[in-house]
């Protein structure tokens, strides 16, 4: 155990002393983040967004004040770039178009929604205001477009929390609330706990209801920042470099004689390989944390829930390390690992959504992307960027951990057949 740790530390030290590695681990993703940030106009305007034209279907069966107000939010000019709303009348047809991947989410505002919230005269008479049971708004999300769906849910959530805030405090009438502009699209597009509802929200238990969300209720609203997509995308792409660099070092140590030297010391093979894997894992984690720290510091980028970020980083690096090990186990020479590693870095970068949002890619790419750590982790970082927390990350984390575990098993089998002593 101790030796495994010591070998890993040694590898981290070596990686951070290698100038070429430093350029690719840290400088390249940072520079590309800045470059792509400039292209998307992140640094010239604060309102631009990494995602755009999210197709959303609004089924307004309420047709009353609040329902119309929510529909107006979705159709407002402020959100015109971000959303591509269409209105529908048939909830079933709308759900079907989600199942056919034609939209990111459906917002169904049921009949009687406004009435269930705005107190009626009779309720005042009964002193029955708070007890009124609100009719629930349903957001039917497309699991393969979780970013878009997350944003839609965030908007609905923000809207509902404003409504609830007003309803409970009873300091402002609902009409005043809406027409005075207190519910604006700007506020609505907040990092609510909306994205936190997981992927499927159509089951009754998780159907959104009017509720107070403390983080959004006190107005701590953050716009979805283009960099919140670009920065993790670039970091994840170059994480693939780091894991293949680490894998390459196993074969490089074999060639330079330090691996045979380790093998004749009183250290067993499991400790040695474990140490190499640990070194890759540690290097990748440090790389990610440095990049996250740098973008927070220099661009004021908010990555979201710190615990979620850390756990997601660990899971992503674990999944990526699995790929690094498999590439190494299949290659014969260090330079083969380097070239295959670079190819995989680029392919995974593109297929995993590092350059183009996956939601704008054909469905076979979206399917393929599931084998990349990039896609899962990017999905997780988007969720966090939209205000989600660790509890909302179960899908990407489970996927990344399973990916890593399976790939480790594969690499152990492959390494078993490999000659560690000689080229």
């Amino acid at each position: 155990m101790l030796k495994t740790f010591l070998i890993g530390i040694k590898d981290v030290r070596l990686a951070f002393r290698d100038r070429a590695a430093l350029i690719l681990m840290l400088a390249a993703p940072f520079v590309l983040t800045v470059g792509l940030g400039l292209v998307t106009g992140r640094f010239s305007s604060n309102t631009s967004s990494g995602v755009s034209d999210i197709p959303v279907i609004i089924v307004n069966l309420d047709n009353d004040q609040l329902g119309n107000a929510l529909a107006d939010v979705f159709n407002s000019a402020d959100l015109a770039d971000l959303l591509e709303p269409t209105s529908g009348s048939d909830p079933e047809a709308a759900r079907k178009s989600i199942d056919e991947d034609k939209a990111a989410a459906v917002v169904i505002i049921p009949e009687g929604f406004t009435k269930s919230i705005i107190p009626q005269q009779s309720d005042f008479a009964n002193g029955n205001v708070v007890a009124a049971d609100p009719v629930k708004i349903e957001v039917y999300a497309n699991p393969s477009r979780s970013t878009g769906a997350g944003i839609v849910k965030a908007i609905v959530d923000e809207f509902l929390s404003r409504v609830e805030e007003a309803r409970v405090s009873e300091t402002t009438s609902i009409e005043q609330l809406i027409f005075s502009g207190r519910i604006t699209p700007q506020q609505a597009l907040a990092t609510g706990s909306a994205a936190s509802q997981g992927i499927q929200t159509t089951s009754p238990a998780s159907t959104l209801a009017v509720k107070i969300n403390s983080s959004t209720a006190n107005g701590d609203a953050v716009k979805f920042d283009a960099l919140a997509y670009i920065a993790p995308a670039m970091a994840l792409m170059f994480l693939m470099y780091t894991v293949s660099y680490g894998g390459r070092s196993i074969l490089a140590e074999r060639a330079q004689g330090t691996l045979p030297r380790l093998l004749v010391s009183p250290t067993n093979t499991a400790q040695i390989l474990g140490g190499k894997v640990f070194g890759i894992f540690l290097t990748g984690t440090i790389q990610m944390l440095i990049l996250i720290g740098a973008s927070s510091l220099f661009f004021q980028l908010k990555w979201g829930d710190p615990l979620g970020v850390i756990v997601l980083v660990l899971a992503a690096v674990f999944g990526a390390t699995g790929w690094g090990m498999v590439i190494t186990a299949l290659a014969r020479t260090p330079s083969q690992v380097a070239s295959v590693g670079t190819a995989i870095m680029l392919i995974f970068g593109i297929m995993g959504g590092s350059f183009i949002n996956l939601e704008q890619m054909p469905s076979f790419v979206q399917t393929f992307s599931k084998i990349t750590p990039n896609a899962w982790a990017l999905d997780g970082f988007t969720t966090l960027g939209l205000g989600g927390t660790l509890t909302d990350l179960s899908a990407p984390i489970i996927a990344l951990l399973s990916m890593g575990s399976i790939l480790f098993l594969v690499s152990v089998v492959l390494f078993g057949k490999k000659n560690l002593v000689q080229k």
Partner: protein, 314 residues
Amino acid sequence: MSAILHVQNLVKNYGDFKAVKGVSFDIEEGEIFSLLGPNGAGKTTTISMLSTLYTPTSGDATIGGHSITKDPMGVRGIIGVVPQDLALYEDLTARENLIFWGQMYNLSGKSLTTRVDEVLEQIGLTDKAKDRVKTYSGGMKRRVNIGVGLLHKPRLLFMDEPTVGIDPQSRRAILDTVKDLSKQGMTLLYTTHYMEEAEELSNRVGIFDHGEMIAIGTQKELTQQVGEAETLILHVGENDDSEALAKTLKDIQGVQQATAVDHEVSIVCAEAEDVLAAVVTKANDRGIKIRSIDIREPNLEAVFLHLTGRALRD
């Protein structure tokens, strides 16, 4: 004296190629034992098996009572290995390398740092300890390479051609270190293709060729085997055909062997004076100008020549 190393019929095949063909020998506690043989003789392969890196095709060896095949971990704790090719982390400093390798040999804490300082002193790199190994000269790297093998004070140290390709000064320093280690009680298995090193260092020498131990003993025992032969060395001109000369010299009565390497012809004979006149005449007949003549007392080169018909360095 008891044997610290006991080798029984060790065989290593690389596919069809037989690199080591059933070697047996013992090394006594406290001695310097040299494996002398030309490149490709199988020295490194033998050391690799003894240090548990390669599994023997057949045969076995025990080191301090531990079998290299059945108890490799037991063997690893008591041996030190200085590989033929440098095996260091060039981006770490000498000190960092020694610390890391010391940890791999289960040293830690204060005893590790004291030991690292001692070894740095011993290899003469205390002043340069904080420089990265990649900034070192070849000789300095070789010394770090040796230092790594000494950290845990092994009972038996394998040194595989530790002086190849370095300047005479570093070479001298290394040979002196080897003698010091021996004085401190360490047992050494030293491989080389330099006859002079084997002669200077070893208590006993094993002569290795084509995967076989063709002779073993003290230098004296070995030279006696070749029958007190002497070697006559002719230095000839650059344009002279030394090969052809060597061939004709073999015909002279009393000449046991004659071989040519570059512009040197080595002639093994019982008594140099008896053949000298005939040798000079033959050379004159062929129009070859002799620049100088050396007479060497029987040495390991002669033994090798006698046993194989070839010079050690070719």
